[in-house]
């Protein structure tokens, strides 16, 4: 038995940046077995409580070690409908892996000694996918009566739909865009989550009986009242936090200053990287600058770099962040990948003002240096700009990736739906029910920006209460 963590194979950096192919290649059977044998099978497995949907991690890893991959698959599926997605995008180092007893660091994220739970989950999920394993529907009389409308097909909506369908409820998912997946499709690039994986997991739900209706913007095309009139007995709102935040500094609306959402939507949803075969354009730039420190910032920067490379431009992408690498909320793996691919990081930098050429295109960002003071409400050390430390960074493309807030299309069309000061939907935390009877909510529209798995945790809770309540 080896004590060394098993690394997952990856595409080499120079190969990756020439396209949008998946970067992490995942475990072979042999590697998965070796990693599973590192698991101590703790009597009190802390990892499980580190998972927002409480996957029985100990059990599934034990099954992997016994080569019972199908068993492992069904163990995960009991609490998580999307192992192949979560195994790829979960920030495991802040969740299950951080709770692993092998974890040695006192950092905000786990050390490399922790079991690579996410890679094992991915291996198991992909095994199930390759072998077309299908978890049985556990129908009961009560749940089969329920007819539920799920609004939004992002992580929360898909998870809620899956939980309900597995119990035999009739579920229709409504999505405003032309294809399902929400942020998993428009936000996360192919090189982190291949479209085929997402499509498979959505099809899996369709096989469970979930119906998908795209191009329906609930709140505009149809109201919540009308959904009830059409015979839905319960509604789940998984609207996400889709509205990009901006810095609020001068020059932010200059040409080629993008929100990360716009930049990534053009590329991921509309396939702008295949322009002109696909008609949606995106500008590329010779000197791209990304503002932010989360996964979205990493995704945007890595997309920008790939676009430059594909278009024969010498890659030049910088990420600027107000704090340091330690405080960056992005997955450690994505930060590492971004560095390997040639993205430069500038820390302790606060944007001050964009400047343009005479045609209105961005040409440089004036900035200030920061220093970190004591911790703020987020628990991270607060950056404070240093007066007089002005400097500028030349750029002809800028992507703002500093966060998102609630989309109000549905809430403003539904005044009875109570929201808080952040415009998030207020729920009863015990049931996830909103201020409207029989309307439930979960995911980022409830908690503000969170992770995929956190959204799923809330959606599951809502699904349980929808079923009990039906």
């Amino acid at each position: 038995m080896t004590k060394e963590p098993i690394k997952a194979k990856e595409l080499s950096a120079d190969k990756r940046i020439s396209g949008f192919d998946e970067v992490v290649l995942g475990y072979s059977e042999k590697e998965a077995l070796a990693e599973s044998l590192r698991c101590l099978q703790c009597k009190n497995p802390t990892c499980i409580s580190g998972c927002p949907v409480n996957i029985n991690i100990k059990e599934f890893i034990f099954q992997v070690a016994k080569k019972d991959y199908a068993g492992a698959y069904f163990t995960i599926r009991k609490t998580n409908n999307f192992p192949s997605i979560c195994g790829r995008v979960c920030p495991a180092e802040y969740q299950c892996r951080k709770a692993c007893v092998l974890n040695k660091s006192k950092l905000a994220y786990c050390s490399s000694e922790a079991i690579n739970i996410h890679f094992l989950e991915r291996f198991v999920g992909d095994y199930g996918m390759r072998n077309n394993l299908q978890a049985p529907v556990e129908k009961d009389a009560q749940s089969s009566e329920a007819k539920v409308a799920v609004v939004g097909s992002g992580p929360a909506g898909l998870c809620c739909a899956g939980e309900l369908a597995r119990k035999g409820a009739a579920v229709v998912v409504f999505e405003g865009l032309q294809s399902c997946g929400g942020v998993l499709r428009y936000g996360i690039p192919n090189f982190r989550l291949p479209r085929e994986i997402l499509d498979y997991e959505i099809n899996y739900l369709a096989k469970l009986g979930v119906e998908f209706k795209t191009n329906v913007l609930v709140g505009k095309t149809v109201s919540l009242d009308e959904l009830f009139q059409q015979g839905f007995s319960r509604i789940f709102l998984g609207l996400g936090a889709g509205v990009p935040l901006f810095l609020g500094i001068k020059g932010e609306n200059l040409c080629n200053v993008y929100s990360a959402n716009e930049f990534l939507t053009r590329i991921n949803l509309m396939s702008a990287y295949k322009f002109p075969e696909y008609h949606t354009p995106v500008n590329i730039g010779r000197h791209a600058l990304v503002v932010g420190g989360g996964n979205t910032a990493m995704d945007a920067a890595r997309c920008a770099l790939r676009l430059q490379k594909i278009n024969g431009i010498k890659p030049d992408v910088k990420i600027i962040y107000r704090r340091t690498v330690t405080e960056m909320p992005a997955r450690r793996l994505e930060i590492k990948h971004a560095e390997e691919e040639g993205i430069k990081f500038k820390f302790l930098v606060q944007p001050k003002e964009f400047q343009a050429d005479d045609k209105g295109f961005v040409r440089q960002l004036n900035c200030l240096n920061c220093e970190l003071k004591e911790a703020d409400a987020s628990g991270r050390r607060k950056p404070v700009a240093l007066e007089g430390s002005d400097f500028s960074i030349p750029c002809d493309l800028t992507i703002i990736a500093i966060g998102l807030e609630a989309n109000q299309v549905l809430t403003s069309a539904t005044p009875e739906l109570k929201t808080d000061k952040y415009k998030d939907i207020v729920i009863n935390p015990a049931t996830m029910e909103t201020s409207i009877k029989h309307v439930f909510a979960g995911g980022d529209i409830v908690g503000g920006e969170g992770t995929v798995i956190e959204a799923m945790g809330m959606a599951k809770k809502a699904a349980i209460s929808i079923l009990q309540n039906s």
Binding site: L177, T221, R266, N283, V409
Partner: protein, 281 residues
């Protein structure tokens, strides 16, 4: 929601302008849900094909009885050309709406509606609704030349007064819609100006009506992607604040719009468009 399966089918197609390389197409599209909901001033997002862009188009007419909507657009880029190449019986790849806020319809009194080019199609539903609300309607419509002037008959039937303008004088008066607007505002008192057309036209309308201190609404044609408030592509500065024209608009008070910024932002993809238009369609 069974109706949704019918959405997006093209019921009828008419080429309403085909002159000197300019093609303006009118499509009647099956859209049960949208036709019931659409108010004047709202728009839909259309994808003609899987590879096409998501493009916003104003709903020119919604017929809840026939369960159809009418869209009118000029073929300018590859996506509008793809859309224009579709025929009755074809189905759009995607159609979503109605989007944006509807025009606030009430009895303002005397209203001037100014439409330029395909913008004429966008003032038509507003003119109809305002007329029904008891307003006295003056329509001022203009185009480069007489063949490009659309919906003349429809607006003539709706408006109390109509002024036709062509740049070359081939129909109506020679000159711009803004010339008439200025004359009208000098001679008489009006309660509202509503304008849709090319940005330079709307900007000029804004300047003129501000000098007469008259409330003026414009419907902006900012670039959009999702058009549901998610991407921020369509952001425009209004009264010093950043607004998303898809969900906060598309209508704004003309005098509050940062026109220079809008004009520049709408030119972001000129280079790419030149490139794509060279491709064989």
């Amino acid at each position: 929601m069974s109706d949704l399966s019918k959405a997006g089918k093209i019921i009828a197609k008419e080429l309403i302008v085909d002159h000197a390389g300019v093609r303006v197409v009118k499509l009647t599209i099956s859209a049960p849900e949208i036709s019931r909901k659409a108010g004047a001033g709202q728009f839909v997002v259309v994808m003609p094909s899987e590879k096409g862009e998501r493009i916003p188009l104003t709903i020119v007419k919604a017929d809840s009885f026939a369960q159809t909507i009418i869209l009118i657009f000029q073929e300018v880029g590859l996506t509008t050309k793809t859309l224009g190449a579709l025929n009755a019986g074809d189905t759009l790849y995607a159609l979503v709406g109605p989007l944006g806020h509807a025009t606030k319809i009430k009895n303002y009194g005397k209203v001037i509606l100014v439409g330029g080019g395909v913008g004429i199609a966008e003032i038509y539903p507003v003119a109809t609704s305002l007329k029904q609300a008891g307003n006295n309607i003056t329509a001022v419509i203009g185009a480069k030349t007489k063949e490009l002037l659309i919906l003349e008959k429809e607006l003539r039937d709706t408006a109390d007064k109509i002024y036709l303008m062509t740049d070359d004088g081939s129909l109506g008066q020679k000159g711009f819609t803004t010339d008439v607007l200025e004359d009208l505002l000098k001679k008489d008192k009006y309660d509202l100006v509503y304008a849709v057309g090319p940005i330079p036209m709307m900007k000029k309308v804004s300047q003129i009506s501000q000098s007469f201190n008259i409330k003026t609404i414009v419907s902006l044609n900012a670039l959009m992607v999702d058009a549901t408030g998610m991407c921020g592509c369509c952001r425009v500065t209004v009264a010093g604040k950043v607004k998303f024209s898809c969900v906060d608009g598309p209508e704004f008070e003309a005098g509050q719009v940062d026109w220079e910024e809008l004009e520049k932002r709408n030119s972001i993809y000129l280079e790419k468009e030149k490139h794509i238009c060279k491709l064989k369609f």
